[in-house]
């Protein structure tokens, strides 16, 4: 694994976010019994190594007015799925695009993409654009709009909480 226990402790300390105080890293450092410079250096290294893919303001899209959220799933032949994934991910309105295992017959789909938009009609039009792509023609798919959000928060990484 790419992280050691000290990295894990730092990420766990950050999971609820930095405090809004002038010296937020010093506040985190105090909780970890480290110094501010060590916290900044360790976090910088995690960003550098790609463990942390971004550092910054984590928003809740629904409150920003992005009301429609669709998961579009596709059953793409295995030899074409990576090319299809890169193709879909290249569209600016596709916010996430992942390959995952099929579980036939309940779940025949292996390519997942997320589209967040201001309203359902916009998202449906964007899905239409994807379906019209030459490479996606005839690919069986399903659209799963979200209905209710029961929970949305950052991942918990502390071992102590994993009982």
């Amino acid at each position: 694994m790419m992280v050691d226990e000290d990295d894990r402790r730092l990420l766990a300390a950050l999971q609820d976010g930095l405090p809004q105080v002038p010296h937020p890293f010093a506040a985190v450092a105090a909780r970890l019994e480290l110094d501010e410079a060590a916290v900044i250096a360790r976090l910088s290294a995690l960003v550098e190594r790609g463990v942390v893919k971004r550092c910054g303001l984590v928003v809740r899209h629904h409150e920003l007015g992005w009301r429609a959220n669709a998961m579009v799933v596709w059953d793409v032949p295995d030899d074409r799925v990576d090319a299809a994934g890169r193709l879909l991910a290249g569209h600016p309105f596709v916010t996430l695009c992942y390959r995952r295992p099929r579980h036939p017959p309940a779940w025949p789909y292996n390519l997942f993409c997320m589209i967040h938009g201001r309203d359902r009609a916009t998202v449906e039009a964007q899905i239409g654009l994807l379906c019209a792509l030459e490479d996606m023609a005839g690919v069986s798919h399903a659209v799963l709009f979200s209905r209710r959000r029961f929970k949305q928060c950052g991942a918990r990484l502390a071992r102590s909480e994993a009982a």
Binding site: D7, F25, I40, G56, E63, G85, L157
Partner: protein
């Protein structure tokens, strides 16, 4: 763990809030006074940035100022789905949301109607969580771990 309403009012942003969100969903300055560095980049004061972030948090727009961890680097995560009869969905969703290892939990329009993300320190712990949810709720959990990622997470564009 009640469901959050779909029709909660949309939050109107001030120009400073809008610029903060546009500019700093990534690239938080990793310096002792990051909010002052953000203020300098936007031509305002540290106090104004702190006040704007506080308001965005209160309004629910800002989840946190933090680090987004790439899946399966510092922990083991998976996407899971369950097919739950609608009459039982509230109960099952509450049981699922109550677990600290569950960080997203949504109802979606499909026979598989409950979709959630489980993140645990390692794959063994992750499987334990899925099995525990099956035992506790009485419904099977479909385990759909990530096999490849094709996107780059840039945060949300405001425009």
């Amino acid at each position: 763990m009640t469901a959050e309403h779909r029709d909660a009012p949309e939050v109107a942003l001030t120009p400073l809030e809008c610029r903060l969100l546009d500019r700093f969903q990534r690239g938080l300055p990793l310096v002792p006074r990051p909010y002052r560095a953000m203020a300098e980049a936007l031509g305002t004061t540290e106090e104004a940035v702190l006040a704007a972030l506080e308001r965005l948090k209160q309004a629910g727009v800002l989840s946190r100022v933090g680090a987004v961890v790439r899946p399966n680097t510092a922990g083991a995560s998976t996407l899971a789905a369950m097919a739950v009869p609608p009459a039982d969905l509230e109960r099952v969703a509450a049981l699922v949301s109550a677990r600290t290892e569950v960080n997203h939990n949504y109802e979606r329009e499909h026979r598989l109607n409950l979709w959630f993300v489980v993140t645990a320190p390692d794959a063994v712990a992750r499987q334990c969580v899925l099995r525990a949810i099956e035992r506790e709720t009485g419904y099977a959990v479909l385990d759909l771990p990530l096999e490849a990622a094709y996107h780059i997470d840039l945060g949300f564009a405001l425009t």
